[in-house]
């Protein structure tokens, strides 16, 4: 069965520092992969997605993610974090049951120190 693991529940970084959020997945084939961001009390916004092709994917707000098949990973990165990046981040893969259903990881809450 498909699953998504985000090993880090909370991460704190200083503003201007680099960031990497980890995501590992279990999926029977080459998956579609997604990263979403949720600001406090809000819905989720799609940051980026991987469908095929180039394994380094660029997203909104200066984020990127790299698909590594050998490691079953799709880690999210940003070279320089801004205070406004403080939020919760979710990795997701499609559900095998179709109908565009998604399975989400437990999320990583990012805090940014000034």
């Amino acid at each position: 069965a498909q699953s998504v693991t985000q090993p880090d529940i909370h991460i704190t970084v200083s503003e201007g520092a680099s960031l990497e959020l980890r995501c590992n997945y279990s999926y029977g084939a080459t998956p579609y992969l997604f990263w979403y961001v949720q600001s406090p009390g809000q819905g989720l916004q799609l940051l980026l997605k991987y469908f095929s092709g180039d394994t380094l994917v660029q997203g909104i707000k200066g984020f990127e993610a790299e698909f590594k098949r050998s490691q079953s990973s799709f880690n999210l990165r940003k070279p320089s974090v801004h205070w406004s990046d403080a939020a919760e981040y979710f990795c997701a893969v499609p559900h095998s049951g179709g109908y565009n259903k998604l399975i989400f990881g437990a999320g990583t809450r990012l805090a940014v120190h000034p």
Binding site: Y32, G43, L44, G107
Partner: protein, 112 residues
């Protein structure tokens, strides 16, 4: 592009009371619709999805039910709330590219 409206934004309800959360979609027709719940400190759990009017599929056994009386209306209900029903409820539909969900702004439900 699609827009999802959810209301209310916050709700505090006593145990045993009924619940009705509404989600409406603009900018698309006959969308798949989804209800997710986000419990404190946990990820998003898919509760229900619908591929059309009157069609509801439940992903997990629970105290809640869903209905889709109109093409762009999705309702989450309960006859008697439990403490464990507390959480953040999100409605979603696929975006213009597959799986790029559009989410509503959510309803924070606290059962007391």
């Amino acid at each position: 592009s699609q827009t999802i409206h959810q209301w209310p934004a916050t709700l505090v309800q006593p145990v045993g009371s009924p619940l009705s959360l509404e989600c409406t979609v603009e900018g698309t027709s006959n969308p798949n619709l989804y209800w997710y719940r986000q419990a404190a400190g946990r990820g998003l759990q898919l509760l229900f999805y619908s591929v059309g009017i009157g069609q509801i599929s439940s992903e997990v056994p629970q105290n809640l039910s869903a209905s889709r009386p109109q093409d762009r209306q999705f309702i989450l209900s309960s006859k008697k709330l439990l403490l464990s029903d507390s959480g953040f409820y999100l409605c979603a539909c696929p975006g213009t590219s597959n799986y790029g969900y559009t989410f509503g702004s959510g309803t924070r439900l606290t059962v007391v």
